[in-house]
Symmetry: C4
Subunit: 186 residues, 4 copies
């Protein structure tokens, strides 16, 4: 990856207040898992979880935006201190006006991460659009940045690390790690 | 992959009206998953799902043809708008006459995707026979084309993308993505 | 792999009547899967399954020999037409005398496949000892042959294919595939 | 890896009496797995299991130290003869004083293995701090050694093998393998 490109994306990420994540293929390895009694399972990544959990220490909220809602997302959202799980409405970019108004953020304060065609509108309209490594061609082409890690294998952590760096906020994170009780906001 | 080979397979795929997919090893990573109470699980790929779901916008139906039927296949078929799940009868090619009559398709309008010996008859008899990367030697040898992706890792999406390209139908897909409600047929 | 080595292992495999398979790490990817209610899951490979299933057409029986028994093994054994699941007794090689007597086979008619230290005695004592790619050093060193595929990713199928080749029995297999009903023995 | 570095870590490991393992990302592939009824699953590695199980033959106890406790850990701990599962308190290094007193070990007799920021205090304070291949930068930098295998793919076994080598205790292990009953201590 070019240094120039990294500098540019960091500059954009330094303004972010809201991180919106697609789920399947971004927080997971594109897996749709069913058992023969109709139950679903999802496999998330523990490092993505810590990354998102720590973002709120520097005032960044996270939202899951999936084409399909599921109780699993609610459970994982709780672990990661994600503020909202939105799902079910297509095209996804229809949610954008409501989200901006609800969280009082401007377009350039929103980063969206996606991997497939139904994320195309969001990738184009959000202030910062990021594609995971396993995204389809159209998403990569329309995005500001593509992660070097695949969805479910730490792509989201790579992005949260980049945001922390862009904000110059690593010390806040490390202080919290040393002293979670004292530093915990919520 | 040779350009010549790609041109040839696209030409064949431009006539397709029916896509028949083997399940284990094609829609999954060859995994057979059991728990200790006799339940089964299957892991599908979300990008394969969207690929098949979108095919019906250009008039292509999809069928799952497995050696073993399972309620899991029915559930995944519903997500993907697959018209039928066939299973249980061997050799699989015995289903071909019935399928052609039921869906009113000619042999050259059928594409079958398989990975193992029990798919050999279908690979040979269907108008277009495609092997996934992880197919056994005999299947690859008898097929018109081999995907560069493995089963469960996007091999089926690679094929549906190829069909869309072969049919020159990418605009239809992207219009639907922008406006799912208006464009939705079913 | 050297041609010489392949020729030698094929010569040994041409005499085989009984295939004894360790389970974890050989039929699976070394995974031990639990849920929070004490249930276990196992992930097998569908191509291994067909390979073992077809072996009985050429008169070769298969046994699972695991350090730990489980109802999951029984279920998978049924799919694969495995004649027996043995588990629980250590060291595993203690089973050998009983197995030889029960199945009326000589030592050189037995092939054992393993991956870890507790398989060492069996690897040394069975007529043919095969290590999977992911076996520990000691097992590889003591074995007649090491597969190029990992356990759970088709290592067992690689061995059953090698046995079919060694026995010159590919036509029997392909005839059965074309006509399962007529050719089915059991 | 440099020979010098391997010699140094073996020298340190030769004094170890207690092995403390982080769980997610160390004993697993960073996976957090939920089903839609709130149940959790974890995928461990069978070779890690045997490695830890055998350590107690040479007088080394193992502890799981996780940020989140779970009944799954208790079950896997029982398989592996792990003496204690500790979880829930952050920062993790707060447990160190209690652990040292309970197990009557000095700091240089403790080896801790971790992969993410919340392991940083333990990595720094334990006599020997080991990072798995998939650890974050900060953990690798603070550790005495980084495994070449990833968590859940045999990283822990790599460490237990190294400890056995460092202690010159391979014969004890192999004798037990040959004769588990006679040699079993517990």
């Amino acid at each position: 990856m070019k240094k120039e490109k990294l500098k540019k994306i960091k500059n954009k990420l330094s303004k972010i207040k809201l991180l919106i994540l697609d789920v399947d293929g971004v927080l997971t390895k594109e897996e749709i898992i069913y058992d023969d009694q109709g139950r679903e399972l999802k496999i998330f990544n523990v490092k993505d979880g810590l990354g998102v959990y720590l973002l709120r220490l520097i005032g960044i909220k996270t939202i899951f935006l999936s084409a399909k809602n599921s109780p699993i997302l609610k459970k994982r959202a709780k672990d990661m201190k994600v503020v909202e799980v939105r799902g079910g409405r297509l095209p996804k970019e229809k949610e954008l006006t409501e989200i901006k108004s609800k969280y009082k953020v401007k377009n350039e304060e929103i980063c969206f991460v996606g991997d497939d065609l139904i994320d195309l509108g969001m990738i184009k309209k959000a202030g910062v659009g990021i594609a995971v490594k396993n995204a389809c061609r159209e998403i990569k082409k329309a995005s500001d940045y593509t992660t070097s890690k695949r969805g479910g294998e730490g792509a989201v952590r790579q992005i949260t690390d980049l945001i922390v760096e862009a904000k110059g906020a690593k010390k806040i994170i490390l202080d919290f790690i040393k002293n979670p009780k004292t530093n915990q906001k919520n």
